[in-house]
């Protein structure tokens, strides 16, 4: 089943100002409004960033980078565009940049594709489900072997459950182009998965 990204968007409680109002106040320099936005959206940004991050420390960096980009971009944010869409786009682009950096890192290090520096799940978070953490680690290790764009596309599709229209809208591709890219990326992923399963 494919999910629409908006299903994860946190709604503002009735007693609190909505995102766009807070964003306008933050734009004008009101620190409390910026903090309230960060507090409200931290869980969603963390969850989406975690889909990309291969190591727990990377997730903290990604989340911080997203919010720094928000702070930096706020003067340019236009109120005719919902804040939450803008934030999600920044998060996806930050994830894509991370895929690029990981791709370069892999090329310049002798790191095995199975990611030997990933700690066991219980060492990271005792409450995590070890089976889910192990599966996520395996899936991310495979996705990381694709090109950065393919990695981003299939991470959003497989791990987040986004449909191709939403992915295309966030990455600046048409729906058709996204589907064609996805078809080719899945062929490459299938070959990688097959190789891994055979060994």
């Amino acid at each position: 089943m494919e999910a629409n990204p908006s299903t994860h968007a946190p709604a503002a409680p009735a007693s609190e100002p909505d995102d766009d109002t807070l964003a306008r106040r933050a734009q004008a320099g009101e620190r409390a409004a910026l903090d309230q936005l960060a507090r409200r959206h931290h869980p969603e940004v963390a969850r989406l960033s975690w889909r990309f991050a291969r190591r727990p420390a990377d997730q903290d960096d990604l989340v911080q980078e997203v919010f720094l980009r928000v702070v930096r971009g706020l003067p340019q944010w236009r109120a005719d565009r919902p804040f939450v869409h803008w934030l999600r786009r920044i998060t996806v682009n930050t994830g894509r940049d991370y895929c690029r950096r990981e791709s370069v890192r892999r090329r310049w290090t002798s790191e095995p594709s199975s990611d030997s520096d990933t700690p066991p799940p219980e060492a990271v978070d005792p409450s995590s489900d070890p089976s889910a953490r192990a599966a996520a680690s395996e899936a991310k290790a495979l996705l990381a072997q694709l090109s950065p764009d393919d990695c981003t596309l299939l991470t959003l599709h497989h791990l987040e459950g986004w449909d191709f229209a939403d992915i295309g809208a966030h990455l600046g591709w048409s729906r058709t182009a996204t589907k064609v890219r996805a078809f080719r990326a899945r062929l490459r992923l299938r070959a990688l998965f097959q190789n891994q399963s055979a060994t």
């Binding site: 960060a38 963390a46 960096d61 995590s128 489900d129 192990a134 996520a136 497989h158 791990l159 097959q194």
Partner: protein
């Protein structure tokens, strides 16, 4: 074989989707976020980063930008930026040499 591979991938993805990030420390995140005005100043300096080492003035501007960033507490959490910290201690000598 093809179906077997597909079903194993589907199973992997379904389990992977249940994975969630660890506990969040929102207070720590907020401490590392600069104000909009401070960030604008710091990033404006950093946009000149490409000119680093080109001239002594560019080097001085870079030092100033890093100082602004450090003041804003931006790199307390971001490990990549923490890697830049040793550069800060070298800057005075580098500026002195360049001038």
């Amino acid at each position: 074989m093809k179906t077997d591979l597909s079903s194993r991938w589907t199973d992997l993805v379904q389990r992977a989707r249940r994975d969630t990030p660890g506990p969040l420390d929102t207070a720590a995140l907020l401490r590392t976020l600069p104000d909009v005005a401070a960030a604008r100043l710091a990033f404006a300096f950093l946009e000149d980063f490409a000119a680093l080492f080109a001239t002594p003035r560019a080097l001085a501007a870079c030092a100033a930008s890093i100082a602004v960033f450090a003041t804003a507490g931006v790199w307390q959490l971001n490990s990549e930026w923490q890697e830049l910290e040793p550069l800060v201690s070298l800057l005075p000598a580098m500026i002195g040499g360049a001038v």
